[in-house]
Amino acid sequence: MTLAGARPGLGQAAEAVVVALARSGDDAAFGELVRRRQAPLRSLLRRLCRDAALADDLAQEALLQAWQTLPSLRSPAAFGAWLRRLAVNTWLQHLRRRPERTAAPAPGTDSPPPLVSSAPGDPSPRLDLDAALAQLAPLCRTCVVLAYQEGMSHDEIAATTGLPLGTVKSHIRRGSGQLRARLQAYAPSPGGPLPAEAGTPVTGACA
């Protein structure tokens, strides 16, 4: 298998062509798909599980599954959505194996952990989106991330996660409400735009 080295010409090929080659057992083509898709896949999983190492493990698992089941993919054009569904299913299976506890306020405190942090050597406060997401229940967070980061519609999320459409809508409504309420507290002025739009640096570091 030649995941590490690209074959000349594959890098410029349309994805449907590369997928078709990979389906026929071309390892270099599969390697090219991994190169193209690993960044968004890992980014999505990091946002979902808030742990970079675990996210990479799950991404590996999803890609291995993709390698095994790629010949069963009917439409090469649907590869992106298919791979994303594999990743989300891997995450949901992980949740079933090891149910995650939502980040709760520390004992003796009434408020949730602060959502701003400063990077070493950088005195400016940064809004930690992952810390805000950590306060959502895992399934709720999954729906919110798929909606806002991946731009998926409610129907697509329901199809991807296997949740009923009403549940997806309810998760997104509740999750975005909680997220907005928590993040709004850090806006420069009451009722003003969220810090990201106000120019405050935002970090995406996993909690």
Partner: protein, 134 residues
């Protein structure tokens, strides 16, 4: 989904009027601005690890295929040996029908030895087909 600069996937346009991204563009903008690009070293390490895992998986699949093929051949050979008297009668009948040439070969083919050779060859062919991806 097409890829943007640096291998990052751009946010999808709203797929329907119900798209949440359209309902709350501020949170969507916050998600986009919180994207952290992965370093080239991290991507290379990820690929190398995946390559190792694929090799390991491929070896395991080959071993499983070999064990399955061997078990199938042994099982069917055992069945043939159990029903050898009946096959021997069939072979004798074939030999009786003709004294030489193709009928002799036919008699050998329907005998236990012929069946075993056919099964081994068939098993090998199946194994090749099953591990065609490996």
């Amino acid at each position: 989904m097409s890829l943007g600069p640096g291998g990052q996937a751009p946010a999808h346009p709203p797929a329907s009027e119900e798209s949440t991204a359209a309902l709350d563009s501020e949170i969507a903008a916050l998600f986009q601005s919180a994207e952290e690009p992965l370093t080239a070293a991290s991507q290379a390490a990820f690929c190398a690890r995946l390559e190792r895992d694929v090799r390991r998986l491929r070896r395991r699949r080959r071993l499983q295929s070999a064990v399955l093929a061997l078990a199938a051949v042994l099982g069917v050979t055992g069945l043939i040996l159990r029903s050898a008297p009946a096959l021997a009668r069939l072979a004798n009948a074939a030999a009786w029908a003709g004294s030489a040439g193709l009928l002799h070969i036919g008699g050998w083919l329907v005998g236990p030895a012929g069946w075993s050779v056919s099964l081994v060859l068939g098993g090998a062919l199946l194994w090749r087909l099953r591990t065609g991806r490996g």
